[in-house]
Amino acid sequence: MPSWSPTLLLRPWRSSAFRIQALALLVCTLAIAAVVLMRGELDHRFANRTAEAIGGDLVLEGSEPATEVQREQVAALPHSRIAAFSTVLVQGDTFVLTSVKAVDKAYPLYGELTVAEQRFATPRTVDQGPPPGEVWLAGPALDRLDQTVGDTVTVGERQLRIGKVLVREPDQGAGFYSMSPRVLMHLDDVASTGVLAPGTRVKYELRIAAPGEQMAGVHERLQPTLAAHQEIDTREDAALRSMGPMRQLSLWGQLSVMMVVLLCGGAVYLAAGVRSAEQARRCAVMKTFGAGRRLILGQILGRELAALLPSIALGLVLAAGAFLLLQQWLGDALTWRPSVLTWLLLGLAPVVIWAGFALPRLWRLADLPARLILADRMEAPAARTGRNLLGALMAPVLVAMMLSGSLVALGQLLLLMVAVAVGMPLLLWGPLRLADKGGARLSLAPRLALRRLARRPLTTLPMLAAMVLALAVMSLASQVGQQLLGQWRASLPEKAPNYFVLNLFDQDMDAFRSWLDTHDAEVPGFYPVVRARLTEVNGQPVREAVTKEDEDDQGQRALNRDLSLTQAAALPESNRVTQGRWVEDSPGEVSVESELAESLGLEVGDELGFTAPSGRVAATVVGLREVEWESFEPNFYFMFSPGTLESLNRYWLTSFYLPEGQGADLPDLIRQFPQITLLDVNALLDQAQDLIARASRAALALAVLLLASGVLVMAAAWLAGNQQRRRDEALLRVLGARSALLRRVAVLEQALLLGGAALFAHLLHLSALWPLGTSLFDGDMPLSWWILLPWALIVPMLAIQWLKPRRHSAPLARLMS
């Protein structure tokens, strides 16, 4: 019976190959666990954030309140009822159109309300809406009414006391985004105001807190009860509609996990080869003395795995520590506690990696005849190596399934991984053979270096493939990380406009510009706006020209309402021409938003006719544009060339950035220009910027983790070939070689290996730009200097190799070792 004493479990640690394997598994465990925990944390935070943004995990919406039956279905869960409508507040002779949200005492289910006791006073958070008899008004409403906290205001037939200034709602983005200032009141007061009559446009919501798995059950129970006017929105639907950073981060996280798994698998595979050779003699001796297959496998594989378990455990502990740090770094208290199953899967993942990459090479020992091992003729046939490699690829696939729960979502990534792992050694084999043939005329040092690499394909190719992958992942990780950060920051610059102004007329413009100058407000531009309907396409009435019948279709919706048309000389920064060109400086041209154009079937060259109350306008479509709607800049479906809209009645739209401290001057602005609509988007902007800041930190952490695992795995791969290198050096020493020759051979070998790996990493980087660009950056991922990053690592490594003092141990001892 095999003995399992602690001493026997410590013994493998004397082998450098075992230590490499243990290190690779530690890195692998740490990376997988850290990335999975980070993704779990981010997903959880994001789910919370989206639930907060729509006001619940699940929202039943309708033009009438939820029925008694529906309320009974959710009675056991925290829930809240909301009614949202527009109404006019009256104070003396002043009327202000407001957007009202009437809430019950359970509101808000998630997040907190931010309020102030006075306009521009320091805000604080509260966890409930206003009590009955009270309204909370957003600042602009107070400014227009010229009221303050403590005054009363008339809502329909009721006088309600202004209790607080409403600064921010957690569900600000929940479809109530309106041009009118927000008012929050208690749901019980709505009936007494009499503002809701039959035909009034009102949206009722029943919001339910159903975290985690509960959501699906509630959805299932409510679905059969839905009336025609009702629909259900969930946090998952909202997440799909949400901003890009989280989608990008999630995809990038998945890709990172796969890359780390593949890298570490490569290192384990290389180290296992050395380990197999080390164990071979013991195995042969056991066979010679009649040990059975089970005993050999138990002794060799069982002890090997048992001795590796502390590394895996240490990886998990480190990952848990990193996870706690990450949670603190991302801010807020601990929000997500991984389940026992998650920890079990994380512990199992490196075992699966080891089983896939190392097990076949060690298992082979049980099948090899002892005489081959003892005669030192145990090289694996190439076909077996190919099978081992293919078998090893199943390990990351299994890990991917374990971690993601789905192969479909990872289809592209798995294809990429298989292509890289199988295709790369095949791809590298040709150039390596060519270099070997061409190297016959080289001097001794480069020839020896080349021979070492080219004539050990079973060692060199997996090592080279691991290095290519490591270097490519490093440069790609850096570029992707930097581009994600850059893109997110660019989409919401520090001084993104925090106020939008509508209804500015020509006669107001000079005074308005002067006010902006006085307040150092930064203005991206002024857009003239004409309200008009699209009435003709290529001379035909639009109803005949456009055949789509779907009322939910974007194009149909656009046809059923007045559109905001504008004209501009320059393409806005957040727009990108996807077809045709931007308008020229002559009237009669129009650029159309690409999705709307597709929906309406519009193409470049079409003639469009628009009808406005003040006249008609015609223009030719010269190009289509992609619009970044989340950009916090004014965006338009139809943008005309300068001069096209001159004859029509228009108003001006602009946005500007005003530093936070100057907000107190806004009431003056409203009093000076009473007809303007001033939209305060500070709260939305804060939410978006906060989201981006957190996503940026996570992307940075991910890139650092990938870089670190790449460096560690590359070092492990290099160390795996070290033993043979040292024996070769000893033999050269015996044959009279001096240090200078050994140094030249070693440096040239490294230069060939690392330089070749870097060149192929460049190719891999280049070929990954398109798929990565498509999945993460809407196709826009240009070549960058980051591609040269591997050289920043390689040059110092070669310099160290060149400058480091050589060990002068006795060559005989090294040769005999």
Partner: protein
């Protein structure tokens, strides 16, 4: 040169640290080998034969005494200078062959010539491969050769440098009788033809009998 011994060892000792204290492997070894001499050192396993050979060839450093090759002492030399001294005067044949697995038979024979910067290394290597009967196998890698063939390549590599002194450590120890006899015959033929001094370490009395001088190593001491 003829009057200077090609190899001299004086009071050579080697101790290594062990759990029980210092362990003496070799003690007060004195020997001298003239050009063309053949010396067999025999002894039971573990008597220190290979350690002695390593010290004589400057592959290991003694803890006492000194070794000179052609009058030039190893003592005080760094690893590079010792390698240069070896390269000038001596060659090796090992029990485990120690061919470079990545190089063909021809390239293995060329290796010491190239290290020494010899002219026409390829031609010389071809000549020596032919001399050991392997001219048809020059493009084969070690893994494609039998044990006997590998040792013959090692012999060609050793003699290609036309050394004054050849160290052979159990040269037939890994071979069957037929191959062993063939390699031994070749070793002594080449030695005789080229006047090379030979220091042969073996536990095989039959092989030792081919040498002019025979000394036995027992418990770290060399018989007279």
């Amino acid at each position: 040169m003829a009057s200077t011994p090609v190899l001299v060892a004086r009071q050579l000792s080697k101790t290594v640290p062990a759990p029980e204290g210092e362990l003496t492997l070799l003690e007060h070894i004195d020997l001298a080998v003239q050009g063309g001499d053949t010396l067999a050192i025999t002894g039971p396993s573990g008597s220190g034969k290979s350690t002695l050979l390593g010290l004589l060839a400057g592959l290991d450093v003694p803890t006492g005494g000194d070794v000179s090759l052609a009058g030039e002492p190893f003592s005080g030399l760094d690893e590079d200078a010792r390698a240069a001294l070896r390269g000038r005067y001596c060659s090796f044949v090992f029990q485990a062959f120690h061919l470079v697995a990545d190089l063909t038979a021809l390239e293995n024979v060329m290796l010491p010539l190239e290290i020494a910067g010899a002219d026409r290394a390829r031609d010389k290597a071809r000549h020596w491969l032919a001399r050991v009967g392997l001219d048809k196998r020059e493009r084969h890698f070690p893994s494609q050769l039998s044990g006997g063939e590998q040792q013959r390549v090692a012999l060609a590599r050793a003699f290609a440098m036309e050394p004054a002194l050849l160290f052979a450590d159990e040269p037939t120890g890994s071979l069957d009788r037929a191959n062993g006899d063939q390699v031994a015959g070749l070793l002594f033929d080449l030695n005789r033809d080229h006047g090379t001094a030979l220091v042969l370490v073996t536990h095989d009395p039959a092989l030792a009998q081919h040498c002019a001088t025979h000394r036995e190593l027992v418990e770290g001491r060399l018989s007279a």
